[in-house]
């Protein structure tokens, strides 16, 4: 299988993960699309270096999170502001499930970038070791951070 075929397969299989990350780090549909494309570019750039030493899903999570976090940082560095809008197709529906998704977006959106990444990985049932490998911290540190994030989220829901 050449790189191109491998890339297409990875994107097809991990599309939901990529989109979920982009969605959680974006504030509007155009931003999701931009992040999604940027993540795909970074995956393509990195596919040569990816040697299956870690799981494909771990690698995709790492690239997607790094892309979204750094994109956000660049924006902050440029001093740009993005209007907080819910003008995203995924969220424009008003059925029960869409409202639930909107709530999740709102909750996660209040967290810091790294915390957002950690909680997303944890919600997706990744182990502490895997989360640590993706974010670049120890498993112990992940558990400490998670306790703090969960407390923070609880406090937010009480407010």
């Amino acid at each position: 299988m050449n790189n191109e075929e491998r890339f297409v397969q990875i994107v097809r299989e991990q599309r939901q993960t990529i989109y979920t990350v982009c969605y959680m780090f974006a504030k509007e549909k155009e931003e999701v699309d931009d992040l999604f494309q940027e993540t795909l570019i970074n995956l393509w750039k990195g596919i040569d270096a990816f040697r299956n030493e870690s799981k494909v899903s771990t690698w995709v999570w790492r690239v997607a999170l790094n892309t979204c976090i750094s994109a956000d940082r660049k924006k902050k560095a440029r001093g740009e502001t993005v209007p907080l809008s819910m003008n995203i197709n995924l969220y424009s529906d008003s059925d029960e499930k869409s409202l639930q998704i909107q709530q999740l977006h709102k909750r996660i959106g209040r967290l810091g970038l790294v915390d957002r990444a950690i909680i997303l990985l944890w919600l997706d049932n990744l182990s502490y070791d895997e989360i640590g490998a993706i974010v670049g911290i120890s498993a112990k540190n992940v558990s400490v951070k998670l306790v703090r994030i969960r407390e923070q989220l609880k406090q937010m829901s009480n407010d």
Binding site: D124, R150, L153
Partner: protein, 191 residues
Amino acid sequence: MEDKDMIEMRQQLAFLREKLEDQQIVNDHLMRVSMRQRSRDIKRSEHFSYRMAALCLVIYPLIAWAGVFSFTFCTVTCLMMLFCIGATIYVNRPVNRTDLMTADLATVAAVMKRFRKHSYYWMFYVTPTLIIPWLTWACYEFLEHNNPNNLHPAYIVTPLIMGAVIGGFIGYRRHRTSVQAAEDILEQIEK
């Protein structure tokens, strides 16, 4: 034990993934609709072949009866037409049997590749093998039965050759259309 909020958030993330899954299905559906539209070109060519073959099966007995060609020639031509109908059914059957809206894409790709390969063999090997001897025989028969004034053979044969060229051109156009449709579907799947 996980608290209620966390369980709720996990559920919400599952809803999001579900939504994204649906999104993918919508895209897949659009691709399949487009594939089905392209496959109509294959069906049109198939039906065109049947109509032409059926026409020949009706006309050639009449031609034999009118004495334009010999009975043997007309019989062989009709048998050739039946063989062509059989071959067309054989080549097109997997395409017709495959439901492009529900079959997995690997199966659709395999069916289209098979169709493309068989169409290619049919066009570039079987057709010349059948047409060249048939046309030569047709020219000979036409000269035998329709040249009482001993005209130059070219006057007699030229219209027949021209008819064959026009027919061949139409047939080739049909072949290209259906093969192109199969190639478009394959390209769409690969993309």
